[in-house]
């Protein structure tokens, strides 16, 4: 079973606060991803990383930023949270394999509510 962790699981904060959502994995995976999912809607890729010091923006424009200083750690930061950021944020990593044939493992998600 994959070991990928996200904290916090639930977060309620006020507008304008800076927040960091943590994601870590113990599998040594190089590739990691952040997705945003609103209730009943599809997953949208907002950031991904191919390895240390590599970060790319995904398909959905996001005001968040990410960093990848260590292989196992891929935190997501919102400098100034707004109610429009209320959503579920899912982190994933994928195991090495032949190119384009990879399986993603998801963390439990962080449900963010910005008041």
């Amino acid at each position: 079973e994959a070991d990928i962790y996200q904290t916090p699981r639930y977060l309620v904060i006020g507008t304008g606060k800076k927040i960091t959502l943590e994601c870590s994995q113990t599998m040594g995976h190089d590739k990691m991803y952040w997705y945003q999912q609103d209730p009943g809607m599809e997953l949208h890729l907002i950031h991904y990383s191919y390895g240390v010091n590599s970060t790319e923006k995904g398909d959905l424009s996001s005001e968040s930023t990410v960093s990848r200083i260590r292989t196992e750690h891929f935190p997501l930061t919102l400098e100034s949270a707004r109610p429009s950021h209320t959503s579920q944020y899912l982190c994933a990593s994928s195991e090495p394999g032949t190119t384009y044939q990879e399986t993603q493992y998801f963390g439990p998600g962080t449900r963010l509510l910005v008041l």
Binding site: Y35, E42, L43, L45, Q101, T103, Q104, Y105
Partner: protein
């Protein structure tokens, strides 16, 4: 624009019934298709399909891909209440990007 379309969006059946969930896609540089089951939290991986016509099975679940007609189906036989979930289809394209469908919300009545 790459897109993945799942149907139906919602389905309610009785325990013991067989269901077929559909996923069609229009993407450039297809690499693989993934099925996930999502309950209250994060999606859990079910299948990865890369070749046409080869069925993948896991217990009562099975899936097959048709790369000519650009679709995949996920079958669940002898459904149980524990199968109630959202089933997500996703397509991996060149560049390792993954496009998800909106999901099919399946509810199994006891």
């Amino acid at each position: 624009e790459d897109k993945v379309v799942q149907s139906p969006l919602s389905l309610v059946v009785h325990e013991g019934d067989t269901v077929t969930l559909n996923c069609s896609y229009e993407v450039t540089n297809f690499r693989s298709l993934l099925w996930y089951k999502q309950e209250k939290k994060a999606p859990t991986f079910l299948f990865m399909l890369t070749s046409s016509g080869i069925e993948k099975k896991s217990g009562r679940l099975s899936s097959i891909l048709d790369k000519k007609e650009l679709f995949s189906i996920l079958n669940i036989t002898a459904t149980q209440t524990g199968d109630s979930a959202i089933y997500l289809c996703a397509v991996v394209v060149e560049g390792d990007k993954i496009i998800f469908g909106k999901g099919t919300r399946l509810h199994i009545l006891p």
